[in-house]
């Protein structure tokens, strides 16, 4: 019988970790260029105060809070993939559990940063420990976030343990001593004997079971920050599950982007993260997309139909007012993403009809973008009822034709299409968070309506946030294999046993 992990695997998965080549340093440099301006502006904010943002009364929360909820959301990926799929013993999860779990940890880390960025007095953070009131929703969030971060880090470490030992045993001779030391210390004397494996399996299963309710609690509690207040637009019992669904939805999106990024970065990974993963997780993605639309419909339709004095102005701002571009933009992005994912599941057929040509699709996309922009612009002439109706109808026609035209292109490219759909979902989910916060905050009850648009500081810090997230990702995977080697081994062993 052949050894399950071959020399080729070692070459593919371990050797790149010891090569600090140009590509690595260029990536780091590019990320630093993106990240540093925001950090400099944050230092300025520390000295001057939150006045450097566009926050005002009553828009006391802004981009930082939107980023916070968004990052909490994308961190859901790890829990779902690793814990749920582990418990269900689904085999195709094996190569991507590592990336999934690490995304949870990294996402939560930068989410925590958002809270600190948003605080008027970050120097008094310790007050939450000294005087924390457990009755306050913000303390639930802090407690839940801390617990989730600790549990997820522990889960990631447990899952890494056999691979750290593998690294310890496969470190090249010329590797620096401190790295050898690092692996031998972190591997905690892992020898891979039967008893250790049995214990590890037990521990991973236990942590998976614990992680799921903690993950759900964090997303629910984050929604309670809003739904426990008496502000119109937030007083909704559906917000908890809506946030959980949105979290899984955007979490899967990020996972797709991260795996595609990782395989692009190290081409050898393509042999491990195969199309099967994109196809199977794609199904879950489609389901989540429909569940998300179902919740969005619930939120929108009920308030729109009852037209209550306080709630309706907030909803009207989303449907027809200043938040219409963001609200309908979100829906357009999600619809496009869902169609792309469905198209990948449809049988591929060569069609001679020019409607299904890529060129037609691109033209229609451009036309749809132009009509959408026209609808979003604040020009009175464009809002005359007849003009608006024509524009709306034209947009719908162009949009449908664009999707149909590009279907063939999408079907021919599984991974790029999935990444595009994921990017749409991520951007759409960021807009969704924006659409939950901003209409309510700008439409206070007895404060004049105001507007809010992030300043350069807030935009730069948002970019920095994602820069930091990517930096952590890139650096972490220079030290640890991005594919769970022992899981791949276990998967192959099962295949062999089944006569593969």
């Amino acid at each position: 019988m052949q050894p399950i992990i071959t020399a080729q695997d070692r070459e593919n998965l371990v050797s790149p970790l010891f090569k600090f080549d140009r590509q690595f340093w260029m990536t780091i440099a590019a990320l630093l260029v993106v990240t540093l301006p925001g950090l400099a502006l944050y230092v300025r904010q520390l000295f001057l105060g939150l006045g450097v943002t566009d926050l005002n009364r009553p828009v006391f929360w802004g981009a930082y809070l939107v980023n916070f909820i968004f990052l909490i959301g994308i961190s859901m990926a790890g829990t779902v993939i690793s814990a749920v799929l582990h418990l269900l013993k689904i085999e195709w999860r094996r190569p991507i559990t590592r990336i999934a779990e690490s995304l949870t940890v990294f996402g939560l880390m930068v989410a925590g940063l958002q809270i600190i960025m948003d605080m008027g007095r970050p120097d008094r953070l310790v007050n939450t420990l000294l005087y924390g009131r457990l009755q306050a929703p913000l303390m639930w969030d802090i407690a839940s976030l801390t617990l989730y971060l600790l549990t997820a880090s522990f889960a990631l470490y447990l899952q890494l343990l056999p691979d750290i030992a593998f690294m310890r045993d496969s470190t090249p001779e010329n590797a620096p001593t401190w790295r050898k030391k690092l692996y031998s210390t972190l591997s905690l004397g892992w020898r891979g004997n039967k008893e250790q494996w049995a214990r590890l399996e037990k521990a991973i299963t236990t942590v998976s079971v614990i992680l799921i309710p903690i993950g759900v609690s964090l997303h629910t509690v984050t929604s309670w920050l809003f739904s426990t207040t008496v502000q119109p637009g937030w007083k909704s019992t559906i917000l908890g599950p809506y946030f959980v669904v949105g979290a899984i939805y955007s979490g899967i999106g990020l996972l797709f982007i991260a795996t595609a990024f990782a395989t692009q970065y190290n081409h050898h990974l393509k042999g491990y993260i195969t199309d099967t993963f994109y196809k199977n997780l794609g199904w879950i993605f489609i389901v989540m997309s429909f569940v998300w639309f179902y919740f969005t419909l619930n939120e929108t339709l009920v308030v729109t139909t009852e037209q209550e004095t306080l709630e309706f102005p907030v909803m009207a701002a989303k449907l027809f007012g200043e938040f219409a571009p963001a609200f309908w933009g979100m829906n357009v992005l999600m619809t496009a993403a869902t169609w792309i994912l469905i198209a990948l599941k449809l049988p591929v057929k060569a069609r001679s009809n020019p409607l299904f040509k890529t060129a037609t699709g691109l033209v229609m996309t451009a036309l749809a973008a132009v009509t959408f922009a026209a609808l979003s612009m604040n020009i009175p002439a464009l809002h005359a009822s007849l003009v608006k109706t024509i524009l709306l109808a034209a947009f719908i026609v162009f949009f449908i034709l664009a999707l149909l035209g590009l279907t063939g292109w999408f079907q021919a490219r599984l991974i790029p299409s999935t990444v595009i759909a994921s990017a749409f979902v991520l951007f759409g989910m960021w807009l969704e968070r924006w659409n939950i916060l901003m209409p309510t905050l700008t439409h206070a009850r007895i404060i004049p309506y105001t507007t809010y648009f992030p300043t350069a500081t807030e935009i730069a810090l948002t970019i920095s946030t994602f820069g930091i997230l990517t930096l952590i990702f890139v650096i972490f995977y220079k030290f640890f294999p991005s594919i769970s080697i022992w899981e791949v081994e276990a998967g192959r062993a099962i295949e062999q046993k089944n006569g593969g």
Partner: protein, 242 residues
């Protein structure tokens, strides 16, 4: 213990904004530039604004035009959303029914400002500043409770501040009574806005004392609260325009 309460008679109010200015001088609320004020950064613990807020101030067609104004201090709610949401107990209801703010403990998360349905809470976006000679006329009073700043002395950047019913005046009145060796009387203490009110439209006193003006007025058929349905059990009373 008293249960301090303010009553505002909108029939008598002329919307002169005297209360707003008196509050500003008494409580050292910082001044902001016109641009900042336009961006919703003005700090007015006691605000005067047209009612309803989201419709043009004049309603109806000439000559049948109506204008309504409301003056708005803190409601000092009995079920205050700000107190419920504060993660560090920097805001609390004291035993005399006043919602107070501990400026040394506030972490600036602005949950209370978001939760308050009345918008009575303000945030210090920048370090407070005063133009020209204004700086020489700050109120020197300072109220500290267990070493934490709660009174009108200047607040630092990054914390939330709000109307306290001029609680430092209550402390001072009590101290004066004690120094003179006599009982403190409820009518020795009124907030600055009540003292200054041009139309004598504001009343202040102990709501639990059945003989006090405020508790007599609270029985009026005109007595009402702002956003009665907010669930916060606002305490500051309004006497509606007839």
């Amino acid at each position: 213990m008293a249960n301090w309460c303010m009553v505002i008679d909108l029939e008598k109010c002329v919307a002169c904004q005297g209360c707003s200015v008196a509050c500003r001088m008494e409580n050292n609320t910082p001044v902001v530039s016109p641009d900042e004020a336009k961006n919703g950064r003005a700090i007015r613990w006691n605000d005067v604004f047209p009612l309803p807020v989201h419709i043009a101030p004049e309603q109806g067609e000439y000559p049948n035009v109506k204008t309504h104004y409301a003056t708005r201090p803190c409601m000092h709610c009995e079920n205050a959303p700000c107190v419920k949401t504060c993660p560090v107990q920097a805001t609390y209801i004291d035993e005399e029914g006043i919602v107070r703010q501990n400026y040394d403990r506030c972490i600036g998360c602005r949950f209370c400002t978001v939760a308050c349905p009345y918008g009575v809470r303000y945030f210090n976006w920048y370090a407070p500043q005063w133009e020209g000679s204004l700086e020489n006329h700050l109120n020197p009073d300072e109220l500290s409770v267990n070493g934490s700043l709660e009174g009108p002395a200047v607040r630092p950047v990054g914390v939330v501040e709000k109307c306290t019913y001029c609680v430092h005046r209550l402390v001072k009145a009590r101290e004066r009574a004690a120094a003179e060796g006599r009982e403190f009387r409820a009518d020795e203490y009124v907030p600055a806005c009540v003292q200054t009110c041009t139309g004598k439209a504001r009343y202040f006193g102990d709501l639990d004392d059945p003989d006090s003006t405020v508790s007599q007025l609270s029985k009026s058929l005109r007595a009402t609260h702002l956003l009665e349905d907010s669930g916060a059990h606002p305490k500051t009373l309004y006497l509606a325009e007839g």
